[in-house]
């Protein structure tokens, strides 16, 4: 090979390496699990009202391409609107306020082993004396590979 042909050859070789290496087949699971809150039976929906001094039934449908891991829900006040939901839609503005006796909960949603799709149903109690107002309902879902999907929903405790 003459010296003059080295350079173009290197260019071709390198470009081919870069292009081909991105086509390699992947065996490892790289897909995040999915939280489906858009289907008709799901609850709560973004901006929904729930009542204190009672309970509501939370129904969340989840699925994964391989196998689901676990699911947890956290509810905390968002009276000063410090966080936004992960939703496109913003709920109607309400004035900010200071929490006095805010409701908070960390709830385990059961997922049976070996499932790739499941609808988890759980009753959540809201004590009577808690502050009314805007709360965040955050769903955390993992799959067996360790991918976690987060969904934040705004709910209104009345």
């Amino acid at each position: 090979m003459t010296k003059k042909s080295i350079f173009p050859s290197l260019v071709v070789l390198l470009s081919a390496t870069v292009l081909l290496s991105s086509c390699k087949k992947e065996s490892a699971d790289t897909e995040y699990p999915v939280i489906d809150v858009d289907y008709p039976g799901s609850f709560p929906k973004n901006c929904v009202d729930v009542s204190r001094g009672g309970s509501f039934t939370s129904t969340i449908r989840v699925h994964d391409n391989v196998e689901l891991g676990s699911m947890s829900v956290e509810i905390h006040e968002n009276f000063d609107h410090h966080t936004h939901s992960t939703d496109v839609e913003s709920c109607p503005e309400v004035p900010a306020k200071i929490p006095v006796n805010p409701f908070s909960a960390i709830v385990e949603f059961p997922l049976p082993a070996g499932q790739s799709s499941y609808t988890s149903v759980k009753d959540i109690n809201i004590p009577a004396g808690v502050d009314t107002g805007r709360y965040h309902f955050i769903i955390r879902l993992t799959d067996q590979a360790g991918w976690q999907t987060i969904k934040g929903i705004e709910i209104n405790i009345k």
Binding site: K3, I6, F7, L10, V11, L14, S15, T17, V18, L19, S21, S22, K24, E26, S27, A28, T30, G69, S70, M71, S72, V73, E74, H76, E77, H81, H82, T83, H84, S85, T86, D87, V88, I98, P99, P102, S104, I106, V107, E108, R140, T142, D143, Q144, A145, G146, W147, Q148, I150, K151, G152
Partner: protein, 815 residues
């Protein structure tokens, strides 16, 4: 020159051409030999140079007998051509008359790089220092740093194949070498380990890039020289050369960037009489929110509108101050360096970690230059004393350092998990102080280099004491003390003029004492009671390690080859051993593992390089195996007690295989036109544990860069003008591990132009760059903001201007 002529005649020396600027002494004796002492303009001996004498196609290479003194024996009297080359200096060629007996020559070289080596940022590879090292190495000088100056030193260096940056916005970044960053590579500043909070993804390097004169990058396992952490390699910041004798001078530099409306000013002053010198410098930069090629950003499905395409609250300020004072003696030199680097910068306001934040846009968008919360502030103060002693046989150096790194992260208090909804007024921690890290480091490094027959031995010892404290209402890593000490021996054996053998062994000892940490708030226990949870247990651990390296270098006239196998290690950090806290920004409950072993790494490196007048080629592959890579494994489980319902991320150790390499080819088409291509490839796979089959986090995608440089001949008032263009092709990164996201490939185009020009006796440097010429919107896989999908900087014009002035009180060397 008159002075030289007088000196030459007076001492009856050989006749040497004017070109060489030689001072010479000859002593008559029975046999013919030549001894050359090689100096720079500051009268410091230059080690590692290459000197060759040639006549009638016969070549006589000199061997370096003692540091800076080169010897050629058994030659006949006559006229020869002398070639002297040394890294960082302009090579010289001249004819020399050798008399009967012993001839002694004092030779001065002036600082500078040869033209071809200036073509690309990495192109200094012909020098003897790089050839002599058993590891793949790059050296970037001041001119190249200025021509390519990015938002941070790391961005500037990321042009080098194998060096990637993990960007945190436009003005801060941390380096990775072949995909290894954080605590898996070292930064050495003036002989001392630079210790910041390098474990944090949103923490920058904390080095003032205006004070950096030269950077040496070692790619490969360098623990045998530098101890724990040098697994991926070392980024070595070399101090500026000492001022010339009887000189006074300085420089002033201005820089401006359009993407984040950065304005910067830097300057320095130096003075030296015969033996004493003093230097001082400062820099100040102020920048606004940086521009991205997007009108809105999606944090999950929530569309965040951007005001004027500015990434909200990413403005900042940076400043640096430094001074050095020293003494240059015949046998010993001492320099005291003092420096301080300060930075304050905002973080994107609409997401902290993965958490979407709603902020008052009217307030935040009022000014693009103000820094609101979240923000961080870092101050790094450093004192280093460096002593070098040269005897006939030994070159001894001792660096002793003190560093104080103080970092604060400010964010509005947000209750998570069991934290109280309103911040208690009597808590003792300021309400906006989310985290605070304070680190004090005392360290030393002692090296002794000497020659014995064909052996060039370096023996050394190092030690470090670290005192770490934490504060703030959020907890990530506990306070700890750490003591480390190590000794090493490195032998370079010259088999013949071409082949050298490198052998090294090192042992290190480390002790870590971690303080317990309890939450300041109460968590609800499963039995209904409340408790301040212990987030880190007190822990004391000892680690010891034996590392080593074996390699060969084979140097031919145009080709050189290296093969090296080395073992490196690092000690687990406090967070990896003891953390038991929730990182709410990432919804992760990070569980440390007190039983972790010191991480070990075996690496085989090879490289082949070729250089002639028109070509420079280099290929440097490597394979790497970790028997126990420390990995933060995101599990499938949530924790409802310590983890407050968050996903458990468990520190674990797994077997990891990595392979890859870099290649470079530069070709000079004509006197003024040259072209280059460089590329990097990296593959990583976990072989055991929960994530067997997966790669590693923050793995840089493969990439290739094509460049063209036009350097017209000297014009009347201009010297070294250049125009260059480069196109960088980055492949998609699809090999990811939780919690990463796949990143698409992209192409970036950059332009550079500049020149030095002369007005009277004054010289000015003007450098211009256009980065991301097509305003491409792209996601950099290794960027801190990648997880929330924030694009990198859009088109960016960078203009820098520098002027130097120098008043030499005596023009001994120049006229």
């Amino acid at each position: 020159m008159l002075l030289q002529k007088i000196m030459c005649k007076f001492k009856l020396c050989a006749v040497i051409t004017v070109l060489l600027q030689l001072h010479c002494v000859a002593v008559y004796a029975q046999t013919s030999s030549l001894s050359i002492r090689l100096f720079n303009q500051s009268d410091e001996l230059i080690t590692g140079g290459t000197i060759t004498l040639s006549a009638d196609s016969r070549r006589y290479p000199a061997t370096e007998k003692t540091p800076g003194t080169y010897q050629i024996d058994s030659i006949r009297a006559g006229v020869y051509t002398l070639e002297a080359a040394a890294f960082r200096y302009q090579s010289k060629t001249a004819s020399i008359k050798i008399d009967e007996g012993a001839n002694t020559v004092l030779l001065h070289l002036s600082v500078g790089y040869n033209t071809l080596e200036n073509v690309v940022v990495t192109g200094y590879s012909s020098n003897s220092k790089i050839r002599a090292s058993n590891l793949s190495m790059h050296i970037v000088g001041e001119t190249e740093l200025r021509k390519n100056m990015g938002g941070s030193l790391v961005q500037t260096l990321s042009k080098i194949p194998g060096i990637e940056m993990m960007g945190i916005g436009a003005a801060q970044a941390k380096p990775t070498i072949r995909g290894l960053g954080f605590d898996r590579m070292l930064v050495i500043d003036k002989g001392i380990k630079h210790e910041a909070q390098q474990w944090g993804a949103d923490h920058g390097l904390e080095i003032d890039q205006f004070s950096v004169n030269e950077v040496e990058i070692i790619k490969g396992p360098a623990s045998f020289l530098y101890g724990a952490g040098a697994i991926g390699g070392v980024l070595k910041i070399n101090p500026a050369l000492k001022p010339q004798k009887n000189s006074f001078g300085g420089s002033l530099q201005l820089i401006g960037k359009t993407s984040n409306m950065l304005g910067g000013l830097a300057g320095n002053l130096y003075t030296r009489n015969d033996k004493w010198f003093f230097t001082t410098g400062f820099s100040y930069q102020d920048y606004a929110d940086y521009k991205v090629p997007a009108d809105s950003i999606f944090v999950y499905d929530y569309a965040v509108k951007l005001h004027n395409r500015n990434l909200r609250n990413t403005a900042g300020v940076q400043s640096g101050l430094n001074a050095s004072a020293g003494f240059v003696g015949e046998k010993w030199q001492n320099t005291l360096y003092v420096s301080n680097v300060f930075s304050r910068s905002g973080l994107f306001a609409n997401a902290h970690g993965l958490e979407p934040k709603k902020v008052n846009h009217l307030l935040y968008d009022k000014s693009s230059r103000d820094i609101m919360e979240p923000s961080d502030q870092v101050n790094h103060f450093k004192v280093i004393n460096y002593t070098a002693i040269a005897t006939r046989q030994h070159a001894i150096s001792l660096a002793v350092g003190y560093q104080n790194n103080f970092r604060q992260e400010f964010s509005k208090y947000v209750a998570h998990g069991y934290m109280p909804a309103t911040y208690p007024s009597n808590n003792g921690i300021p309400q906006n102080l989310e985290r605070e890290y304070s680190k004090q480091v005392f360290s030393f490094q002692l090296n002794d280099e000497f020659k014995a027959f064909t052996h060039n031995l370096t023996m050394g010892a190092s030690g470090e004491i670290q005192l770490n404290k934490v504060d703030g209402w959020s907890f990530l890593t506990p306070a700890f003390k750490q003591y480390t000490a190590g000794i090493f021996v490195y032998d370079k054996i010259t088999i013949n003029s071409k082949l050298s053998l490198h052998l090294a062994a090192r042992t290190d000892f480390s002790y870590i004492n971690i303080n317990a940490y309890r939450d300041w708030f109460y968590s609800r226990l499963p039995n209904g009671t409340q408790e301040q949870l212990e987030r880190a247990s007190a822990l004391k651990r000892n680690f010891s390690s034996l590392t080593g390296s074996a390699g060969i270098t084979y140097n031919l006239r145009q080709w050189w080859f290296k093969v090296n196998v080395g073992k490196s290690f690092r000690v687990p950090i406090a967070k990896e051993l003891a953390a038991n806290g929730v990182n709410y920004h990432y919804f992760s409950f990070e569980k440390g593992n007190p039983n972790l072993d010191a991480e070990e790494s075996w690496q085989l490196d090879a490289s082949a390089s070729f250089k002639n007048e028109n070509w420079y080629l280099e290929i440097s592959p490597f394979i790497n195996y970790f028997p126990n890579y420390i990995y933060l494994n995101p599990t499938a489980r949530h924790d409802y007690f310590y983890g407050a319902g968050n996903q458990i991320f468990q520190y674990s150790q797994s077997k990891v295989f990595r392979a890859g390499g870099e290649m470079e080819a530069n070709y000079r088409i004509s006197r003024s036109l040259s072209t280059g291509i460089s590329g990097e490839y990296l593959y990583a796979q976990q072989l055991s544990g929960d994530k067997a089959g997966y790669g590693l986090p923050s793995c840089p995608p493969h990439s290739a860069t094509f460049s063209f440089t036009f350097e017209p001949q000297q014009m009347k008032h201009f010297s070294a003008p250049y125009i260059s263009a480069d196109a960088q092709f980055v492949a998609p990164q699809n090999r990811i591990v939780p919690p990463e996201k796949q990143s698409a490939g992209y192409m970036l185009m950059n332009l550079q132009a500049g020149s030095q020009f002369h007005v009277g006796k004054q010289t000015f440097d003007l450098n211009m760059q256009i980065r991301n010429l097509f305003n491409t919107s792209y996601l950099m896989h290794t960027s801190f903001y990648r997880l929330i999908g924030l694009p990198e900087e859009g088109v960016n014009f960078i203009l820098s201007f520098k002027t130097n002035f120098n008043i030499s009180k005596s023009k001994k060397h120049n006229d």
